[in-house]
Structures are given as structure tokens and as C-alpha cells.
């Protein structure tokens, strides 16, 4: 399954495809793609019988994104900060990032969890919606928009889901003050 997936993903020009230690990480494959490839990745996984378990965001204000610690082989040149030592506020780091994480899983007995992540510019967090393809993504995207203000272009209704109807704040941003 994993090798098949890897070769499938190769066609999407991913920024990183990393096999992870399931025992520690809880997932098998960590894929990073650009915002323009999120829908393609969803389509690919949907075609292979995966289902979308959750979508969430992570706000990396003033920090270097940690998460996928790439092995040296697959380090991508477009993604230098991921290879840096994690946990330290990069003083000379480039613009802050906002990350969107998609968790995919299977129900047919094959144990394979895939994480697709997409890092966005924090100043302008926009990426296309996958809710047209996977209706279950609708609410997850709305929730992510609620919490982080990430805009899913093409989503039919990004009005607050969990927050009050008139909420104009995004509480899980790290610079949020009540």
C-alpha cells in the first residue's frame, strides 16, 4: 500500500513524502503539498478508497513548523525551514506559516493513515476547498476557518460553525486575545 501510494503521490509533485514510524507518530505517510495540489491529493486518496477523518490547522506564529522531520533524502529545497532544528523561534526565519493538516484513513482493513499537510503564508492563508469532492470536509473546513481564519476558496458557506453567528475573531490563532 505504502509504496503504491508513494508512486502515486510522485505524480503530484509533492514538496515532501515521508514514511513515518507508525508506532510513534500514529500515521504512516506524511505528505506535504502546495496549496494548488490539495484537491489533487484529495482526489487521489478518495479514488484509492480513503476517507477524510479530520481537517485542522496549526498556527506557526514566530516558530518554525515542526511535524514532519524529513529524512535527508527527501529534503526539498523549497522547504528549508522544515529541516531546521525545531522548537526554536527562528529569528531570521522567513514569513510566518499557517499549516492545514488533512488526516486520511481507510475502513477496509488495510491499516494506512496518511497525513497531507499544506503550509500557507500566514498573512494570506488561502487554499482551495475539497468539500466539493468530499462532502464531509464541509464542516471541517468551516471549523478550521472559524478557528484560524484560513479561507477555503470555493467553499459554499464559510459562516461560523462553532462560534457565534457574528463572530469575527479566530481564537486559535496564537496572537488571539479575548
Amino acid at each position: 500500500m505504502l509504496s503504491e501510494l508513494k508512486s502515486e503521490f510522485a505524480s503530484l509533485a509533492p514538496l515532501a513524502v515521508i514514511e513515518t514510524d507508525y508506532k510513534v507518530k500514529g500515521y504512516h505517510l506524511d505528505v506535504e503539498v502546495g496549496p494548488d495540489r490539495v484537491v489533487d491529493a484529495a482526489e487521489l486518496l478518495d479514488r484509492l478508497g480513503f476517507f477524510l477523518e479530520a481537517i485542522t490547522g496549526v498556527d506557526w506564529l514566530g516558530k518554525n513548523p515542526v511535524g514532519n522531520q524529513p529524512d535527508p533524502v527527501s529534503v526539498n529545497e523549497q522547504d528549508p525551514e522544515a529541516a531546521e532544528a525545531e522548537g526554536e523561534a527562528g529569528s531570521d526565519a522567513p514569513a510566518d506559516k499557517m499549516e492545514v493538516v488533512y488526516d486520511y484513513n481507510r475502513t477496509d482493513g488495510v491499516l494506512c493513515r496518511v497525513v497531507v499537510r499544506c503550509r500557507l503564508d500566514r498573512a494570506k492563508p488561502e487554499l482551495p476547498t475539497v468539500s466539493r469532492l468530499i462532502p464531509g470536509a464541509d464542516w471541517h473546513e468551516r471549523e478550521t476557518h472559524d478557528f484560524f481564519g484560513i479561507i477555503f476558496t470555493g467553499h459554499h458557506d464559510l459562516s461560523p460553525l462553532l462560534l457565534p453567528e457574528d463572530a469575527d475573531f479566530h481564537p486559535l490563532r496564537k496572537d488571539f486575545k479575548a
Binding site: L163, P164, E165, F169, P171, F176, K177, A178
Partner: protein, 165 residues
């Protein structure tokens, strides 16, 4: 303004008031209205082991128009607050409110610096008669709360109070 002796009234309302109070205290119909965890304990109080019916208080009415007491059982979020307020307003007088659980008392465990979502206590919205602490309070605590409310209405206690040793 000294002491003036008033003529005793022809119709005495005080005994009638007492009767009304007795009637009201013994027939406290709560609203079917659960907000969060405490609602389950509220249901448990109405169920077989604890049996709120003994005090005539098991008639959970789903319509606020027919309730006497609102048991605020759970966290009031800011989104929910207008609805809770409306429900309170829709209840006919005389009405009472029991704040069940820490969330309804003060926001409970969900209060932290920078919280953006909850109302810190039901008494921020409307007057509360009885507070029942706990997270969630045991059914016995809710029964004690009902007895406490009865005492508040009639002025005397149904069962002897159990003192902590």
C-alpha cells in the same frame, strides 16, 4: 410615627399565601433542558434510583410555559446565552432557577485567561435561587437543591438537615 394598631383585616390573605406557597413548593416542575454533562445527572435524578417523583418534581415539561423551575444544567456558551435568556423570559411567574454544577455557577473549569466562549455563571443572565456545586453534582445534591428551593419558598424544611460530621 409611633406604633399604630391596625384594624385586623376582614379577609386574611396570609394563610392563603401560605397555602399557595405550599402548593408551589410541592409541585416544582422543571424544564426538560440540559446543556451539558450535568443534564445526564439531572436525568439520573429523575430515574429509578433517586426518583425525583417522590417530591412531585418529576414532571419535566419541555415547554417553558409550563415550568416552574429552570435547572441550568451545564455550561452556558455565549452563543447559547440569548436562548437561555429567552427561555427564562418565557416562563410564567412565579419561577425559580437552580444553577446546577460549576459551569452554571461560575463557568467552572472552562474559565481561563483568554476564554472567548462561555458566560461565567448563570447569574450573569438572570437571578438564581439555588446553586449546586459539583462537576457534575451527584443526584443527591440535586435533590438537596430542590429541598433547599422548597425551603426557600415555604420557609420550612421538609427533611431534617444532615450535618457533616
Amino acid at each position: 410615627m409611633g406604633k399604630e394598631s391596625l384594624q385586623s383585616a376582614i379577609i386574611k390573605f396570609a394563610p392563603l399565601d401560605k397555602l399557595l406557597d405550599l402548593g408551589r413548593a410541592n409541585s416544582l416542575w422543571p424544564m426538560t433542558f440540559g446543556l451539558a454533562c450535568c443534564a445526564i445527572e439531572m436525568m439520573a435524578t429523575g430515574a429509578s434510583r433517586f426518583d425525583l417523583a417522590r417530591f412531585g418534581a418529576e414532571v419535566f415539561r419541555p415547554s417553558p410555559r409550563q415550568c416552574d423551575v429552570m435547572i441550568v444544567a451545564g455550561t452556558i456558551s455565549k452563543k447559547m446565552a440569548p436562548a437561555v435568556q429567552t427561555l427564562y423570559d418565557q416562563m410564567p411567574e412565579p419561577k425559580w432557577v437552580i444553577a446546577m454544577g460549576n459551569c452554571a455557577i461560575s463557568g467552572g473549569p472552562f474559565v481561563f485567561e483568554g476564554q472567548y466562549g462561555i458566560v461565567e455563571g448563570a447569574d450573569k443572565l438572570f437571578p438564581v435561587d439555588v446553586f449546586i456545586p459539583g462537576c457534575p453534582p451527584r443526584p443527591e445534591a440535586l435533590i438537596e437543591g430542590i429541598l433547599e428551593l422548597e425551603e426557600k419558598v415555604t420557609g420550612h424544611r421538609r427533611w431534617p438537615r444532615v450535618e457533616a460530621v
